[in-house]
């Protein structure tokens, strides 16, 4: 299966191979956000939580614009339509399954993560050392490629289970205390 997709990638998007990349960083990050959903189990997933859609939320200044909406439009996770929602404070997290914390929140990261402590939400961000600082998945740039670090301590504390497929791809997997050494 993955071979087929790799083939499709090279056939369908030839410019990916060319010297000058045509895809922008935030587009790849948006695609990751949707992709992560396939490899995470939420503790209350089996229950009908009363929410008809699977929400991917963005906290703070939205770097994605229409791209995130375009990526999730028409997609479903666990039979629910995926929806992108913007929130301005962590208290609005409600039914969000995945929360992207914008770099505009860097100065408030500690407060945000504290406020999210009891939320069953996968936190993702490109704030430097996010996974180290108590977040769950932190994007890192490896050359021109977008990769990510995972903090297992944080995901376990929130009761989330990450599948091994995701952990295998992660650049770094941190174990141990979820609060990092902030």
């Amino acid at each position: 299966m993955s071979l087929v997709i790799v083939f499709w990638l090279f056939m369908g998007v030839p410019c990916l191979q060319s010297e000058q990349p045509k895809i922008r960083e935030f587009e790849v990050k948006a695609a990751y956000l949707y992709n992560f959903a396939k490899f995470v189990e939420w503790p209350d997933e089996g229950n009908n939580d009363g929410n008809a859609s699977f929400e991917i939320c963005v906290l703070g200044a939205d770097p994605f614009g229409a791209t995130l909406d375009a990526i999730v439009s028409g997609q479903t996770i666990g039979g629910k339509n995926v929806l992108a929602r913007r929130i301005s404070k962590p208290q609005d997290v409600n039914h969000c399954r995945i929360l992207f914390i914008s770099s505009s929140e860097e100065g408030r990261l500690k407060e945000d993560l504290t406020a999210l402590e009891n939320a069953r939400v996968l936190t993702v961000s490109d704030i430097p050392r996010f996974a180290e600082r108590g977040g769950m998945i932190g994007f890192v740039l490896d050359g021109n490629r977008v990769r990510f670090d995972v903090n297992l301590g944080s995901t376990q504390a929130a009761g989330l289970t990450l599948r091994s497929e995701l952990l295998k791809v992660a650049t770094n997997v941190r174990k141990g205390t979820h609060a990092g050494d902030m």
Binding site: S2, I5, V6, W8, L9, G12, V13, P14, C15, L16, Q17, S18, E19, Q20, P21, K22, I23, R24, E25, F26, E27, V28, A30, A31, Y32, Y34, N35, F36, F39, P63, A66, T67, A70, I71, Q75, S103, E106, G107, K110, D126, I127, P128, R129, R133, F139, V140, L141, D142, G143, N144, R145, V146, R147, E165, L166, V169, N172, G180, D181, M182
Partner: protein, 727 residues
């Protein structure tokens, strides 16, 4: 954001420029603001400054914008349409595939530059590729405030904010954290500073003083050339090029990994360049160079990164030299070949100690050998540096470091007219610095203060403090201001040289100038005042504006003349002895504006306008006998304009144009000129790229800078083609 991590991980000094909480360079002495130079000159400066800011710089921008505006709207629509399509496709990819996509970052200027309280300009690998530059000096032409003037085929004058010369003595240049500034001549031998162009990650150009972090000689700017990590250079690249001036260039590199964490590459590069235009038909400036090297990057666990890299090179630089001879004919001007060779090896360990904290240790050894008909030198440099960043109270940051450099050298006398005494000397620098980042209003206002303390064998102890203030009212805008002090320490040329220049034959005896170094010569000092504004207006348009006033003390000139006679070898001859002295002071004012507009996905334009006004005068009690004052003032252009357009055409073609204008350089007898380059590139596919470059197309040749004996050397119109193959 990740940019910062990356920078910290891979680079030693590189972080300084791009890191948000700039621990940047700089130096300033509060005490001196109101001291010797007086309040009055400061107050007098700003109004004068504002007047030109509103005229020249803004009108240049307005012109640029008016050229671009009409077509912008329709093209932007098309771009957003294509963006939609690719986003839907991305959703289908697996995590592995997403991780393999090469991306362009949202804006050319990374977030960190936006948060840096200094005039930083980053030249990326993509910029270099599309400029068609075959060597580092040519790549630097893109940066605002940087004057790159080609003297001939293998010599350049590269300077920032004035004081241009073949050896621009107040500009510091580093390649992967290794200083390439020579303490013999105070400057950079550009003919041997080669890097495989495909493996450069970026070049950071910092205009303005950088002494607090980088130390002495970072007076008018710092150029930081940073190569890619070995983890980003897997595979084979082979490039072949040839043309009318760049006659042959060849690069080959192979990179790979052992396991996941140990990455390596090896490379070799060779270049051959033909002469530029000579009105007397004597094409002496032929150049050849070969270089090879390696780099390994090993990541051990989460916290440790080790880098080891090295290069060796060999170069032959054609030149014409004017030499005094004490036997008749008193002066010869032979064509000559300068031979240079050398090598270096560098090791760096970076250890993450915790949240926002790390320790880095770097050591390198560098050997250079140079010899031509005028002089020769062998020099070994041993350098060790330590830097620690520590995060304190969550958002405050302390950076401190220690460094030592010991550089034994041996001067080889090859002509009677040039000597450095003593021939053997060991130069040394011992330094420490400390810098603190203090957020005054969280996310909005940050104060950075620090100082370097340094001791060198030429001028002893010096301090180079800086205070910087950054205000980011919104994520997209920032204002910054800085006051800094920096010094240019004397070199062997300033203190130890004995250099004879023939003046004329008289009936009784030939007369020579004898330029004498002064062992008591002091460091040249700068107090720089800078302010800047950046605005990422939207995803497409970025503007960077900077203004500065640099005040200099103790700039070098020649002191009082004395007459001496020489008897050997016969016939008797007369010397007019001219010692170096610290006899010039004054200030330079200037501004730079650099807009960058990604009009669509397939069309980007950028421009820069740099204004410079130098007001130097003799210090009371000194007379500038050697004309150095006029040379300082007349070697840097008042106006410098650059404009670049990058088109991505259908079928994977690229069409790129560059236009440059420089106003006249009176001291170099060079008139104002404009010139243009055009490049056509084609991604053929299968890893093959082709490009054709037409350089300096507007006229058969133009002059950029003097320096060679005899008539000025013209920089020719030329054509160059290149093929690159990647596996």
């Amino acid at each position: 954001m990740q940019f910062q991590n990356k920078v910290r991980r891979n680079e030693w000094f590189g972080y300084v420029a791009v890191d948000g909480r700039l621990r940047s360079p700089q130096a300033c002495a509060w005490g001196r603001v109101n001291g010797r130079h007086g309040k009055q000159s400061r107050l007098g400066f700003w109004p004068k400054f504002c007047s030109f800011k509103h005229t020249a710089a803004t009108s240049a921008l307005a012109l640029l914008l008016s050229l671009i505006l009409p077509v912008q709207a329709t093209l932007a629509d098309q771009a957003s349409a294509t963006a939609q399509g690719s986003s839907e496709n991305l959703a289908q990819l697996s995590l592995e595939q997403l991780g393999d996509i090469e991306v362009t970052t949202a804006s050319k200027q990374p977030q960190q530059v936006q948060k840096t309280a200094a005039a930083v300009f980053v030249i990326t690998q993509e910029d270099i590729r599309r400029s068609g530059a075959t060597c580092i000096p040519e790549a630097l032409r893109m940066a605002p405030g940087v004057q790159v003037s080609r003297i001939d085929g293998d010599h350049w004058s590269v300077s920032i904010r004035g004081f241009a010369g073949q050896f621009s003595k107040s500009l510091l240049v580093l390649i992967d954290g290794r200083s390439v500034y020579t303490p013999l001549y105070a400057g950079v031998y550009w003919d041997v500073q080669n890097v495989m162009m495909e493996d450069i990650e970026r070049i950071e150009v910092i205009r303005g003083p950088g002494g607090t972090i980088w130390g002495a000689n970072a007076v008018n700017g710092v150029i930081n050339i940073i190569t890619k990590s070995a983890s980003d250079t897997h595979g084979t690249v082979a490039a072949l090029g040839g043309g009318s001036v760049d006659q042959g260039t060849g690069d080959v590199r192979y990179g790979g990994s052992v396991g996941k964490d140990f990455n390596y590459r090896i490379y070799a590069t060779g270049d051959m360049r033909g002469p530029e235009f000579h009105s007397d038909g004597d094409g002496f400036d032929r150049w050849r160079m070969g270089q090879m090297g390696f780099r390994t990057d090993w990541k051990s666990g989460d916290r440790d990164n080790f880098t080891v890299q090295g290069d060796i090179y060999n170069a032959e630089s054609g030149e014409r030299v004017s030499l005094a001879t004490f036997s008749p004919p008193a002066q010869i001007t032979p064509d000559d070949t300068g031979y240079a060779s050398g090598g270096n090896v560098l090791a760096r360990w970076q250890h993450t100690t915790g949240e926002g904290s790390d320790v880095q240790i770097q050591a390198y050894f560098d050997r250079t050998n140079r010899q031509d008909i005028e002089l020769g030198e062998t020099r070994d440099t041993f350098d060790v540096d330590f830097v620690q960043h520590a995060r304190i109270h969550d958002d405050q940051e302390l950076t401190w470091g220690l460094g030592a450099r010991v550089s034994p050298s041996n001067f080889i006398q090859t002509s009677v007219a040039v000597n450095f005494l003593p021939n053997k000397q060991t130069d040394s620098i011992y330094s420490g610095f400390v810098q603190y980042d203090l957020p005054i209003v969280r996310d909005k206002v940050t104060l950075t203060a620090g100082t370097k303390l340094e001791h060198n064998n030429f001028s002893g102890f010096d301090y180079q403090p800086s205070v910087r203030l950054l205000w980011t009212p919104t994520l997209r805008q920032s204002f910054w201001a800085a006051v800094t002090r920096a010094v240019r320490t004397p070199s062997r040329l300033d203190q130890d040289v004995d250099f004879d220049i023939f003046i004329e034959n008289t009936p009784t005896a030939p007369i020579f100038f004898e330029i004498q170094g002064d062992p008591k010569l002091k460091a040249e000092q700068l107090i720089g005042y800078e302010a800047g504004y950046r605005n990422q207006v939207n995803r497409h348009l970025y503007i960077d504006f900077t203004a500065f006033c640099n005040t200099y003390r103790d700039l070098q000139n020649y002191g009082p003349l004395t007459i001496a006679e020489g008897a050997t070898p016969p016939p008797p001859h007369i010397f007019i002895v001219v010692p170096y002295a610290n006899g010039i002071q004054g200030d330079t004012d200037g501004a730079e504006i650099a807009p960058d507009w990604k009009i669509t996905r397939w069309w980007q334009v950028r421009g820069s306008y740099s204004f410079l006004k130098m007001n130097l005068q003799d210090k009371p009690g000194y007379t500038d006998v050697g004309g150095l004052l006029a040379s300082y003032e007349g070697s840097s252009p008042r106006d410098l304009i650059g404009f670049q357009s990058l088109f991505n055409l259908p079928k994977h073609f690229e069409l790129d144009e560059t236009y440059r204008y420089s106003s006249a350089l009176s001291a170099q007898s060079v008139g104002s000129y404009s010139t243009a380059d055009v490049r056509l590139g084609w991604h053929f596919g299968e890893g093959l790229d082709f490009s054709v470059m037409g350089q300096n197309l507007l006229r058969p040749y133009h002059y950029e800078f003097g320096g060679d004996p005899g008539p000025l050397v013209g920089i020719k119109r030329s054509i160059y083609a290149k093929m690159t193959w990647r596996m």
